[in-house]
């Protein structure tokens, strides 16, 4: 009798999370787009959608960690761009540093940016949004140091990194994302770090009083975000076939939409990767769907912005902030 009650309340609790709504939205959208365009439900197209998860999904992995801890990272797009162009330059014909070292350098760059962000935010005490806005501009500027070179990716391994399909069906990039999400979910659930992160996001002062090394945890979360941004940068140059300084521009917008839609609260303390994954699928499907039903290019930008506003509006209403009196 008691076991039955416990199962029932567990199910009810799960239904109250954003996840089932997201699944519902996804099914509705799939129906809509398959009706609107006969090219939608084709295997080729679905494979393409899944492959487009790559960059945004990896960035979302990192940014979710930061946001659960109450932080914010707007510099992810620029960091990805920097890691991308530096890697592209290093494997260029004239220089040709061995690929494994290039990867290490890229990851180091991303982690370094994350470290700088984390240090400025915790030690100097600047608002994360302002800090990462500044870092976004600085790093984007740095990307242009190599603007006159025009590295093309001739390296086969790097080319395959973002483009192979396992068994010709499943894009390898989706595997990366799923693996990353699973590892991070496990970290969040079963390690001290993960629990501390949720506590800090919920109430930072309380966490401090409880003895949690808040600064250290936050810095690590920003390093993780930078790390994943670097991976995303590598995937970018792999999928696009060259290294340009403007890669990654505007990624923050899409990733923010995905992450907030996925149930990660902006103040921190709540969020799970299943929701983020489903949100990723939804947003990318919408992007793809818009192309298929021939929505003009610029209108898509409006839709993306409108989606973000819609998603955060829903988040605000869900958190009952619209009921505040002041």
């Amino acid at each position: 009798m008691e076991k039955g009650v416990k199962k029932y309340s567990q199910i009810m609790n799960f239904l109250r999370t954003p996840t089932p709504t997201l699944i519902g939205i996804y099914i509705a959208m799939m129906l809509l787009f398959s009706l609107a365009s006969e090219n939608f439900l084709v295997v080729q197209n679905i494979k393409g959608i899944f492959n487009s998860f790559a960059v945004y999904g990896i960035i979302a992995a990192g940014i979710t960690i930061v946001m659960i801890g109450g932080g914010f990272d707007l510099s992810v797009g620029s960091t990805a761009g920097l890691a991308g162009i530096v890697s592209a330059v290093l494997i260029m014909d004239g220089i040709e540093i061995p690929t494994p070292y290039v990867f290490l350098i890229a990851l180091a760059i991303g982690s370094l940016v994350g470290l700088i962000n984390g240090l400025i935010i915790t030690k100097v005490g600047i608002n994360p949004i302002i800090t990462t806005l500044g870092t976004l501009a600085i790093i984007r500027g740095v990307c242009y140091f190599w603007a006159d070179l025009n590295p093309r990716i001739a390296n086969v391994f790097v080319q395959n990194l973002g483009r192979i399909y396992l068994k010709n069906v499943f894009p390898i990039t989706t595997v990366y994302i799923i693996v990353a999400f699973i590892i991070l979910s496990l970290i969040l659930k079963f390690t001290r770090f993960g629990r501390d992160l949720f506590t800090i996001g919920g109430n930072e002062n309380l966490a401090r009083l409880a003895g949690i090394p808040v600064d250290r945890v936050k810095i690590i979360s920003y390093v993780i975000s930078g790390f994943f941004s670097a991976i995303a940068g590598l995937l970018l140059i792999s999928q696009l076939g060259s290294g340009r300084p403007e890669y990654g521009t505007g990624a923050e917008l899409e990733v923010l939409t995905i992450v907030v839609l996925g149930g990660v609260v902006v103040g921190g303390g709540k969020g799970n990767f299943l929701g983020v994954f489903i949100a990723l699928v939804i947003i990318q499907t919408i992007s793809n769907g818009m192309v298929l039903i021939d929505v003009p290019v610029f209108l898509r930008m409006v839709v993306k912005g409108a989606l973000l506003v819609l998603v955060i509006a829903i988040d605000a209403i869900r958190s009952r902030r619209h009921l505040l009196l002041y």
């Binding site: 302002i130 800090t131 600085i138 610029f298 955060i312 509006a313 988040d315």
Partner: protein, 327 residues
């Protein structure tokens, strides 16, 4: 630090050497350096007029945005607003509407954008930072859609006067606008009931609400005014460049918000003066004008813009923590 409008503990003996004075000293130093390194070009009409125009159109937005930031909110969508206004102006002029009507429509569009932002923040309750980042993309996207991504010519006697007209044959119109708006905002903030309300709302929204101040109305009107002024600046920019490009105003948020924070306005609200913003706008305008004359690559200037933002806020935070330690 007894700044004008500060509701803090006053140490009277520091009242003369306050932050605004320091800022003006920095400004004088920068001006001197720039005129030395940039000679003889710096003082020529060819450089001074564009610099004054740039300063005006940044300053107009900055002055009004200061009022919003003191109230505790922020508006990142000003850049997108400018892009949209520019494209809207160009498209409307092409379709044959008279210049003065286009100006009115553009300002109304700005009001609509400001109102939308205001509603998102006050009625729906979204965090103003994220809300305005989102609307920034929407506005700019609409701008792109209006002109299909191209730059459209925007030439018309009325519109041209806004950016390139001269009052009394020597004073550029933009700076006249800036002076007018500066005087209005200065009077509002320092000598009116509305200004006191803004400071109150920024320092302590709950106490203000309990004292009978309609906090939501104060914030909403702040957003509305920001929207209108951003459109005005958009008109100035369109007039100065004679085209309506959807890229107009890109990256402007960084400069404007930096100059406001440089001027002493706190991010959380409650502190800040129009005079300080004026100093901040001057300093950054001279700085960026100098970098442009020295032919620094645009994206390197972006590095400077980002660094300035971080340094400015860092300086503010460090000063804050030093003040707390002193108490």
């Amino acid at each position: 630090m007894a700044e004008n409008g500060d509701a803090g503990i006053g140490k009277k003996r520091h009242i003369k050497i306050n932050n605004t004075v320091i800022l003006f000293i920095i400004l004088a130093a920068m001006f001197a350096l720039s005129s030395y390194f940039g000679r003889p070009f710096f003082f020529s009409k060819l450089n001074l007029i564009p610099m004054i125009n740039n300063l005006s159109f940044i300053g107009i937005i900055a002055a009004v945005l200061t009022m919003l930031m003191v109230a505790g909110e922020i508006d990142f969508s000003i850049g997108g607003n400018i892009g949209l206004t520019a494209c809207l102006t160009a498209v409307l002029l092409e379709s044959g509407l008279p210049g003065w009507l286009v100006v009115i429509v553009a300002l109304l569009a700005g009001a609509a954008m400001g109102a939308f932002n205001g509603m998102l923040v006050t009625v729906v309750g979204v965090n103003s930072i994220i809300a305005t980042i989102g609307t920034m993309f929407i506005w700019r996207g609409i701008g792109y859609t209006l002109t299909n991504g191209e730059s459209r010519l925007a030439m018309n006697p009325v519109v041209d006067y806004i950016g390139r007209g001269f009052v009394f044959k020597i004073i550029p119109f933009p700076i006249v606008l800036f002076i007018i708006i500066f005087i209005i905002t200065y009077t509002m903030m320092n000598h009116s009931k509305w200004g006191r309300k803004i400071y109150a709302v920024g320092s302590n929204p709950l106490a203000s609400f309990l004292s009978g101040i309609n906090v939501k109305k104060v914030k909403f009107i702040g957003f509305l005014l920001c929207g209108i002024t951003a459109s005005l600046s958009g008109l100035i920019l369109t007039s100065l460049t004679a085209v309506g490009m959807p890229q107009h105003g890109q990256g402007l948020e960084l400069v404007i918000i930096s100059s406001i924070i440089l001027g002493g306005t706190a991010l959380g609200g409650g502190k800040g003066t129009i005079l300080g913003t004026l100093a901040g706008v001057f300093i950054l305008s001279v700085l960026y004008n100098f970098l442009t004359i020295m032919n620094v690559y645009y994206f390197y200037i972006q590095i400077v813009q980002g660094s300035v933002l971080i340094l400015v806020v860092a300086a503010y935070e460090i000063r804050q923590s030093m003040a707390i330690k002193r108490v």
